[in-house]
């Protein structure tokens, strides 16, 4: 709740120019930067692109965010900016190819990790975005529609197809309920 209070204080118009406002932004940044970077990394397939776009996303957010946004709206708006920047990058350069993610830990099952990487490598950027927003970020179809600019009605079928495609590369015997 303390974080939410700081973020709400920062969202007050003109507040970002003050020390308290910057502290509010810092709280929002700490809450959202990691998942946003993860999204950009997996949707673009490149950590360097994710680094660039993450900074650009927050700069654009600071320049454009509407007064009165709550934390959920700010988060949704951040993902929307990030998605637009990602699409612009894919359109302007042909760097959508997925690269091997950097080795950063070994806590997860190695086979599953390789399966996920293979699945992501075979998916289109749009499919990676949908899967990530739905299953990692836990966004509703309406939120995904807002973040991607797609029609809310088409999200369900597009997500279904992306899931089917990803499912071909993942092994269902590891399901744990």
């Amino acid at each position: 709740m303390e974080d939410a209070g700081m973020i709400a204080a920062w969202i007050t118009p003109g507040c970002e120019q003050t020390a308290a406002g910057e502290e509010g932004f810092r709280q929002l940044y700490e809450v959202t930067s990691r998942p946003l970077w993860g999204y950009l990394h997996h949707a673009s397939g490149r950590p360097d692109v994710a680094d660039d776009l993450l900074q650009e996303t927050y700069c654009k957010f600071l320049l454009r965010h509407a007064p009165g946004m709550d934390e959920a709206e700010s988060r949704s708006y951040l993902f929307r900016i990030a998605t637009n920047l990602l699409h612009n990058r894919v359109r302007s350069r042909d760097d959508a190819a997925l690269e091997e993610p950097a080795e950063t830990g070994a806590q997860t099952n190695e086979e599953t990790r390789l399966d996920v990487q293979a699945a992501m490598r075979h998916l289109k950027p749009r499919e990676r975005e949908l899967l990530w927003l739905a299953y990692v970020e836990g966004m509703s179809h309406a939120e995904i529609a807002a973040a991607t600019g797609l029609g809310a009605l088409s999200i369900r079928i597009l997500l279904y197809r992306a899931r089917q495609k990803a499912g071909e590369f993942l092994r269902p015997q590891r399901i744990k309920l």
């Binding site: 810092r26 900074q55 950063t104 990790r113 990530w132 899931r163 993942l170 744990k176």
Partner: protein, 152 residues
Amino acid sequence: MKQMSCEHESGVIRALHSGEWSSELRLHAAECADCRQALFIAEALGAEALRVEAGFRPPDAHWIVQRSRRMAREIAMRRVALLLAGIRALAAVYVAAAVGWLLRGYVAIQYREVASSMSGAATGFALMGAMVAAVFVVAGLWPILHDRPGQG
């Protein structure tokens, strides 16, 4: 082939993230192939997210704020420069129109007076001088009208 996912899929994924499972939803997820697949993919992607994000070191928030302020200043400067360029172009058009309007009446009067007192050769020489002057005026206006914003 079935083309739509299970209507409970969103609820199942929400339950996975919140940890709040109802017994009906848990039973459904165990029996529904779509929800089982969605759950498996969500767990696999979630584990991959944790693994990759563990190595991420975000840049300092203060640095992002400073960069956004620089961007805001640059955008404001570009807008002002564009406005000034527009004003200068309008001013140049206004001056050209005003000079043309003034000269139109003046030249008509002067031409009648000069033509009545000058020979044919002197008239040609005067017209050539006027053309040279016009070329210099256009050359002088050119850099003003083609000055790009942001070049000072």
